[in-house]
């Protein structure tokens, strides 16, 4: 996420490093690079112009802090301005005092509305809220079926409109039913279109007037190009939006749309979608996103992910084992599985500060699978006592796992090193942890 932009900005800052004073000419040169970088990041041109003039004003007028180099000073200005543009801290969707809380989803075709409805429903359900999902997209083939399937998978109720074909009537009926059946939240999934047209806007306006939603959430594809600002602006003017959900943020999208939409509508970005699975929705924290843009990593997200993926009890048991020096290959395999639960290695690396500098470091995700296969091909005894693995056992293991003896050797060698390191850990006060980055850097493991 945002890595390409990070890379560009880093090269910009390098140019400014090592200079005594932040001169006007330096600033302008840096701004030219920033302009190209942000165009490549799909920041809409009008938004970009404002941004650059703000940065210029700030940068040139500003005293260079004693503790900072001019390059860093420039980073700080860009950082502050991006943070200011992207807005405040994350705010949860508030429950209406009198249920149900009505959410109206709006957006273009293919922006991911229906999937986002499922993600929100899952999130509300986790928080103990009772949802009703409403399929009001009567145009796209199987759109209603898609929401029904999601509802079934999530065990969340989906409004059944019967033969009703008018989206306004469907939404009205659904909200009434939600009131009767004491739902906490109603989520209205409306039709998208390939273009902004009056018919679509009119329909949304009529739905809004009929059900008076507490929040209108604009769902937008984070990969949108220059017109992101226009589209968001049009939706905002026509129906009035209260928040934005950015989808498809898990690719290599540079995220310029986030800047464009936020600065045109002034409405907070609430969540972003980071994958196809229904749990892939994350609260939007502007500071974290800015950190990412500026190549400073996103440690907070990493910590949260780790917390979610790691089983605390298992972790405690493992620490005990390490202290007793009884860490086996089997434990090692379990650890790897937990790390994999956190997401792809590339995702994780992207969150580590400075990791964007390691570009070209191609993470071989299949390395994990190979390690797992090798360990799986060992007998119970071998996993517990790796010292007994002699060359004939190695050959068997290599054959069983579809690897080479060389691979088995490498794994055993690394495991032995790791055990040694752990001994040191357990003697000192350092908590358990593995040098994963080091492991990934070496070619095959």
């Amino acid at each position: 996420m945002f890595e390409n932009l990070s890379g560009r900005l880093e090269s910009i800052y390098k140019k400014l490093k090592g200079r005594g004073v932040l001169k006007e000419a330096d600033v302008d040169e840096a701004l030219r690079e920033i302009r190209v970088a942000l165009i490549e990041a799909d920041v809409s041109l009008p938004v970009l112009k404002d941004f650059l003039s703000q940065v210029r004003e700030q940068a040139i007028g500003q005293e260079v802090l004693k503790s900072l180099t001019p390059g860093h000073q420039m980073v700080k200005v860009v950082n502050d301005e991006l943070t200011r543009l992207l807005g405040d801290e994350f705010r949860e969707i508030e429950m209406a005092p009198k249920p149900p809380t009505i959410l109206l989803m709006a957006g273009l075709q293919g922006s991911g509305k229906t999937t986002t409805v499922g993600k929100l429903a899952r999130r509300f359900k986790e928080k103990g809220k009772n949802c009703l999902l409403v399929p009001a997209d009567v145009y796209r083939p199987a759109a209603i079926e898609q929401l029904n399937v999601l509802g079934r998978d999530l065990d969340v109720a989906v409004y059944q409109a019967g033969g009703e074909k008018d989206p306004v009537a469907i939404c009205k009926g659904a909200v009434e039913e939600a009131g009767r059946t004491m739902r906490h939240v109603v989520i209205l999934d409306t039709a998208g279109r390939t273009q902004i047209d009056d018919a679509l806007m009119d329909e949304l306006k009529r739905i809004k007037a009929a059900v008076l939603p507490h929040e209108v959430l604009f769902v937008a594809d984070a990969m949108m190009g220059q017109q992101a600002a226009d589209i968001a602006g049009t939706f905002n003017e026509a129906i009035g939006i209260d928040g934005v959900i950015l989808t498809k943020m898990d690719g290599d999208v540079r995220g310029g749309a986030a800047l464009s939409i936020k600065s045109v509508t002034g409405k907070p970005i609430r969540f972003f979608g980071t994958g196809e699975k229904l749990d892939a929705i994350e609260p939007f924290h502007p500071e974290r996103v800015v950190s990412r843009i500026l190549g400073m990593g996103d440690v907070m997200s990493l910590v949260e992910k780790a917390e979610q993926a790691y089983d605390l009890e298992e972790q405690a048991a493992l620490e005990k084992k390490i202290k007793k020096n009884a860490f086996t290959l089997e434990d090692f395999r379990d650890q790897l599985k937990q790390v994999q639960k956190m997401g792809s290695m590339e995702q994780i690396l992207g969150m580590i500060p400075g990791a964007s500098k390691l570009k070209g470091l191609k993470v071989d995700e299949s390395a994990f699978n190979r390690i797992e296969a090798i360990i799986n091909s060992m007998t119970q005894e071998e996993r517990g006592r790796h010292n007994i693995i002699n060359s004939s056992r190695k050959r068997r293991i290599a054959e069983g796992s579809g690897t080479r003896v060389n691979d088995v050797n490498k794994l055993l060698k690394q495991f032995a090193q790791m055990q040694k390191m752990m001994k040191k850990f357990s003697m000192g006060k350092i908590r358990s942890g593995f040098d994963l980055a080091g492991m990934m850097k070496s070619r095959r493991f």
């Binding site: 165009i39 490549e40 273009l108 293919g110 009567v138 145009y139 273009q195 902004i196 220059q226 498809k248």
Partner: protein, 319 residues
């Protein structure tokens, strides 16, 4: 209200010729691109740097991208310096030429070595319009008298199979499908096998949308391609990447990474009737030399048209 579910057949006959449709479909693009350029060009007496700067802005706003825009402008500047461009009209003509060249350089004839059954594999990111494109292609080829079979290879997204079946039913073509969550390679296998056995002219295989950075899913896609080749050597005869015109510079990354992983034979750009300008095509063809096969300029089935670079550029600049 006229929507996707209204039967396209009723309205289709009333439409004008191809150029009229293309023009009206591209009107949004034209308004921005050509409209913008025309405005600039007519309001200025001389060719100067300010004019070039404004041209740059127009191109950038159309998602042409920083690199391709810089190239186009550099070419114009060179011609100005050589006195080959003397007024704004010549500048516009020259720009058109350069843009058309970027698109035409890479157009190769469609591969014709396909046997009796031609297999088309459709790939792309989520929401780019793959399934809809397949529906439109099915109608197009069926109308040409070809026997078409669809393979519902998107087994991941909820109700994608149903969406494909609705299209198949609407177009009256057979659709091979398994249940949701099935192995997409198995669906592709069945579809191609059925296509060959039933003597179909075209088999179109759908795939689930995936982001180009997801290595595992790209591997899955490679497997689909391998499995198709196993059933029918030489297939798929065309692997088409579907791009959404509203997506900005990320389309370049999409084209690049899908191409690296699978080898793409052509591009389909959808949603050109929307606000998307599709200018990113210039960057993609510039970098990857991939031909654009079809463009989608509306919601009706016949709004998917073979890409004609000259007409595309002409329509962009038509008044």
């Amino acid at each position: 209200m006229e929507r996707a579910l209204t039967d396209p057949v009723e309205t289709e006959e009333k439409k004008g010729g191809f150029f009229a449709r293309l023009k009206s479909g591209l009107s949004k693009t034209r308004d921005t691109l050509a409209g913008g350029i025309d405005q600039i060009v007519h309001g200025r007496a001389d060719v100067d740097d300010a004019l070039l700067e404004e041209l740059e802005e127009v191109l950038l706003l159309a998602d042409v991208g920083a690199g391709a825009t810089a190239d186009l402008l550099a070419a114009l500047k060179k011609e100005v310096a050589q006195n080959r461009i003397r007024d704004q009209k010549e500048m516009l003509e020259s720009l058109k030429e350069h843009m058309a060249r970027l698109l035409t350089e890479n157009v190769s004839p469609e591969s014709s070595e396909a046997g009796p059954t031609k297999v088309i594999l459709i790939i792309g990111v989520n929401g780019s319009g793959k399934t809809t494109t397949i529906g439109k292609l099915a109608r197009r080829w069926k109308k040409e008298g070809k026997k078409v079979l669809l393979g519902a290879g998107d087994t991941f997204r909820a109700a994608a199979i149903e969406q494909m079946r609705v299209w198949a039913e609407r177009e009256g073509v057979p659709c091979i499908h398994q249940k949701s969550g099935a192995d997409p390679s198995a669906v592709a296998y069945d579809a191609v096998q059925a296509g060959v056995a039933r003597g179909m002219d075209v088999v179109i295989v759908d795939t689930a949308g995936r982001l180009q950075t997801n290595q595992n899913l790209m591997e899955e896609l490679k497997k689909v391609k391998r499995v198709i080749a196993k059933v029918l050597p030489g297939a798929p005869h065309e692997t088409l990447l579907v791009l959404d015109a509203s997506i900005g510079q990320n389309s370049i990354s999409q084209a690049r990474l899908f191409h690296e992983a699978m080898g793409i034979d052509g591009l389909v750009m959808t949603k050109l009737d929307g606000t998307g300008k599709g200018g990113v095509l210039f960057s993609i063809t510039r970098e990857l030399k991939l031909p654009v096969r079809f463009i989608g300029i509306g919601e009706k089935a016949e709004d998917l048209q073979p890409f004609d670079p000259a007409a595309f550029v002409e329509a962009l600049f038509a008044r």
